[in-house]
């Protein structure tokens, strides 16, 4: 039953990519540029959570005590929330420092280039601060338990998939059911008209950065728990995130999640059939396929 296990691995991978891709699709549709520094939001979030959970662990005994069968303690949960706030702030500062100054009239490719430069600077800064050797939230080995059809998953994997799904649904509800969400959709569709309707576009931009940063932190913590924390972790996930956002159709959060599932399952299949060293190529193939067949993506209206 190799195929069932591929399914489980793919869903897990997709859930992680989905959190990042949701942020990419939001920033892309509302700020109107593809942010190459989004991967570093993920990295920054993971390291922030690592630092805070480490501090909590030394300050408050028992904060690392695992909850249930998982390896996750309440300290890490609290750290993740704080890290989300930190990364949200980092994204807003980055916007204020760089992107807003370059102006976001039209789709200026200069802003994309600046995000590319910012990505490099941030990644190297993290490497300088934390060295390039990988770090871990904890070193507990988790036993994978069978869940039927020959699939085996660890309690952490289940918890994190639920966590990702929760964040995605929450984001979707915010976008569709709240005034903030309506404002974001309005700015994404027609910023000039949004202003006329009383929307403070600058505020919506800040909210979008914060949301993107928080979601990226979720993905970073997930990746850190499942694999490891490295300075290049976010950058390496950039292509799968972009691919997922484009496959799903730019601007659609559920689309980005579906796109991420497609990329995740594809990666799991690649690992099973071709070999783990080729995993990273799958996202590129998915990207090329969607550009060839339907550049607007599965759920997107615009190309």
């Amino acid at each position: 039953m190799m195929t069932a296990q591929v399914l489980a691995d793919g869903v897990l991978d997709g859930a992680m990519i989905g959190l990042g891709a949701a942020g990419v699709t939001l920033t892309y549709s509302i700020l109107r540029f593809s942010n190459f520094a989004h991967g570093e939001m993920l990295t920054a979030g993971a390291y922030a959570a690592l630092t805070v959970s480490g501090a909590l662990g030394s300050l408050l005994a028992g904060s690392a005590e695992p909850i249930g069968d998982t390896s996750i303690g309440w300290g890490l949960i609290a750290a993740t929330c704080l890290a989300m706030g930190f990364t949200a702030l980092l994204a807003i500062v980055l916007d204020w420092l760089v992107f807003a100054r370059l102006g976001r009239k039209a789709t200026s490719i200069t802003v994309v280039m600046a995000s590319f430069g910012a990505s490099m600077a941030l990644r190297a800064l993290v490497e300088f601060a934390f060295t390039s050797s990988p770090a871990y939230f904890n070193r507990d080995m988790q036993i994978a338990v069978p869940i039927g059809l020959g699939m085996r998953v660890t309690p952490d994997q289940v918890a994190l998939t639920v966590f990702s799904l929760f964040l995605i649904i929450l984001t979707h509800l915010v976008l569709t059911r709240t005034q903030v969400g309506r404002s974001m959709r309005a700015v994404s569709e027609n910023p000039a008209l949004a202003r006329l309707a009383g929307v403070d576009v600058a505020k919506v931009v800040r909210i979008t950065w914060a949301l993107g940063g928080a979601l990226a932190t979720g993905a970073g913590v997930m990746l850190g728990l499942l694999v490891q924390i490295r300075p290049g972790m976010g950058f390496d996930l950039l292509l799968p995130m972009f691919a997922a956002a484009i496959v799903g159709g730019i601007g659609s959060v559920p689309g980005a999640f579906c796109g991420a599932m497609i990329v995740g399952l594809g990666e799991a299949l690649t690992v099973a059939i071709v070999g783990p060293e080729w995993r990273a190529a799958l996202a590129f193939c998915a990207l090329i396929a969607v550009l060839l067949i339907k550049p607007s993506g599965l759920f997107g209206a615009r190309a």
Binding site: Y28, F33, S34, F36, V98, R101, L102, K105, A106, T107, S108, I109, T110, V112, M113, A114, F116, G117, A118, S119, M120, A121, L122, R123, A124, L125, E127, F128, T131, S132, F235, L238, L239, F242, A243, I246, G275, E277, W278, A280, A281, A283, F284, L287, I288, L291, L292, P295, A303
Partner: protein
Amino acid sequence: MTADLAGILTYGSFFLVTALSYAILCLGLNLQWGHTGLFNVGIAGFVAIGGYTSAILTTPASDQHLGGFGLPIAVGWIAAMVTAGLASALVGALTLRLRSDYLAITTFGVAVVIHLVALNAQRLTGGPFGIGFIPRPFGDLADKPLLFTGLNLALVAAILLVLALGLERLLHGPWGRVLRAIREDEKAAEALGKSPVRLRLEAFTLGGAIMGLAGAVHGHFIGFIAPDNYQSGLTFQVWAMLIVGGAGNSRGAVIGAVIVWGLWSVSGLAIGGLFPPADQARASSLQLVAIGSMLVAMLLFRPGGILGERTIVSRWVKQR
């Protein structure tokens, strides 16, 4: 005394050969970005295609990788241009009709995949150990370092000059005029029967071919290539060079390449001197922080380059 002088001259020539190889790369990027406004984030990938193509064709027969076919260096270099140009044409054909970000994302993906192929397709590329024994121009003189690097410098400089003059002619000829017309007013140019997509595709392809040539030239000078030479850091460096020099003119591309490579080398030496060996790898990440910050700062404060010339592309980009 004379030995020292010869050493310094050799080092200087060695430095300049690399800097001018980068300058060739910048000419390719300048054609894509400076003259056409196309954002290529996968430079390293196209350079790698050129480097590997030429290496496979010109190295002596080996069981470590495909080939080598022992062909003349010139054949390898021409083939490098052809393969890198073809790859660019494919990417361009796929993305140039879509919004500009898609080209950026796709070229980024190309670099990722090319690196992956270089690393993992062992029977094609030799895998992580790369390809050695690449024939070096004037290789017979390798035991006379000054003469050897000097001749190589002359060769690279000659290639750079020919390319720069050729591009200058091309850009001031009918083709360049249409390219400019499209930049000024895409709709009007279209009305005159000039296809902007086609023109951009041609510029992107030619730019990619030049990048491939640069990859081959530098690979042959060093005599050895490996996947790790072609990572995103290379792409960053070339962008920083073009932005520092000022996109839109060949002179700026060359000046930017020499300045940025100079800063890079000097800061590398400084780190070697200032930090104990154990911390050097960590400290060298500061080089990347600096180059990334420099790129952003240039975009913010001196978008025309340090020479301050107005970039040709800025107008077109703003209109998008």
